[in-house]
Amino acid sequence: MTPVLLLWTTLAHGQQQSELVGEGRSCTGAVPIAGTAGYANLQSALRTSASTYTAARFAEAHTLTGDARSFKDPAGGSVAYELHTTYNVARLPAYQPSALGLDYAEGCDPQYRVVERPADLNAISAGFALHKGPIGLFYAASLSSGQMAREDPVMRGVYWSMLFPIYGLYPLISAPFLPIEYDTGGSSLTIDFIAGASFNTDLLEVRAGYTKSEGGYLFARDHVLSLFGSLVVHGKEVQVGGVFRTGLQSLDPAALARNAALKGIGRTGLYYRDLPFGSSDDVGTESRLRSGHLRQASLAGIVDVGASYRIRPDPTLSEAVVGFHNRGWDTTADDDEETDDAYGGFLVQGGAVELPALHSLGVSGGWYPSARVEARMGEPGVGHASFSLLLNDEEQLALYPFARNAVSYNLVIDAQF
């Protein structure tokens, strides 16, 4: 883990050296200024975070994945926990309101009477899945929050890295019975849960459930080609969810052809993505970001390459990345049990992402460097822990197109039994 942190610190230092530490004292009671792009971006980020880091997404990405792999066992299950934090998702002007009875000149340096402050997001999720034969049950809950960053950098890090994850455990466990939610415009706290049943066979996996945030939920995937699709049901309307993906999730030619000689080709992901984008509008329509993505993982066992093409708005190549990892990095319980590959290890990925000009969000557009560093350890079919650090990650920028040079980190722990 230490080499990953050292490498990432170097990357971050090179990227934002002049921004690392603000000089002097900032006002402790500063509030965001409404009517600015930064304030609108923060509100958008809070909404997006709440609708993205949902219990359904978490269940699909972690809890149910582990359970799906072990469905051939007579009975079993999985548990998982995730912590996701994004620093500097938006930057917004703030000021010290005299109405609070705080004199900015006494509490902070006068140049910070109006100050630029970043905003952070955090989401924690936990869940479990159980099955007996092909029939299963699952539950997952998520807690997402965001706010203008604390002016004390140490407390800022301690709050998101340690205090929030601890405070959040109780809401995660009691989410179906807990109505506490708030949205002040500049900060918010949202709780979500999903509960449902799954049906898993050699050919097909189907899940249906209820989510607090979106209503009905349906997911289907075949186990041969990894074709997949999902939708949510809002009340009486059936519609594609806010984030829609379809395509090949992870095609393994070697496994498909049962030919070990094809292992060097790696796995192919090819999918289409359609999600809300830009400012929410007043005319009843919704700007959408539509893009195609190609991922070739584990070429020769150690190289990942990826590219994305933005279809709308402003069609263009929008991402190009290359990554390197140790052999066995993406070994799963689906693989041959006699594989000699080690499981887990390190991934280092770099490249560039392109953002379209969106002056409504205060974004002038252009290419930005991107980086991803990830460490993982564990054993297929038993459990794993992974930690990743992201700079200008394509997925993050698709969700938050104003989050240039934002830094995210993600911790996932899961176990199967």
Partner: protein, 111 residues
């Protein structure tokens, strides 16, 4: 963990003196996009704003008497709340947009 805490250190910095001015342009683009669902038109109006107007820098340490620095954002605040009927009526008339708040005269002027 120490590295993670270091990454969180960008907790505040001085605001760009042109910030209230640029925010007025962003607000024009934002309301255009929100009321027309036309991202290209929104970008075009911001670029016309940039080309046709010059920013009057904000001086946080020595503000104009009677005008607090934070009050300069009343320009973008007012534009940000224009009803869509007004937005559609104003169209490409940027002088009209900037006439909607007295504060705009303190942050932006014709180039």
């Amino acid at each position: 963990m120490i590295a993670l805490l270091l990454l969180a250190c960008t907790a505040f910095r001085e605001v760009d003196p042109d910030s209230p001015c640029r925010e007025a342009g962003y607000a024009i683009a934002r309301r255009t996009e929100e009321c027309t669902d036309d991202t290209e038109l929104a970008n075009a109006r911001y670029e016309a704003f940039e080309a046709g107007y010059a920013c009057i820098p904000m001086d946080v340490l020595d503000p104009e008497p009677g005008v607090a620095p934070e009050d300069l954002y009343a320009c973008s605040f007012t534009i940000d709340r224009l009803p869509c009927e007004v937005v559609l009526e104003l169209g490409d008339d940027l002088d009209g947009w900037l006439a909607s708040a007295d504060a705009c005269a303190y942050v932006v002027e014709p180039a």
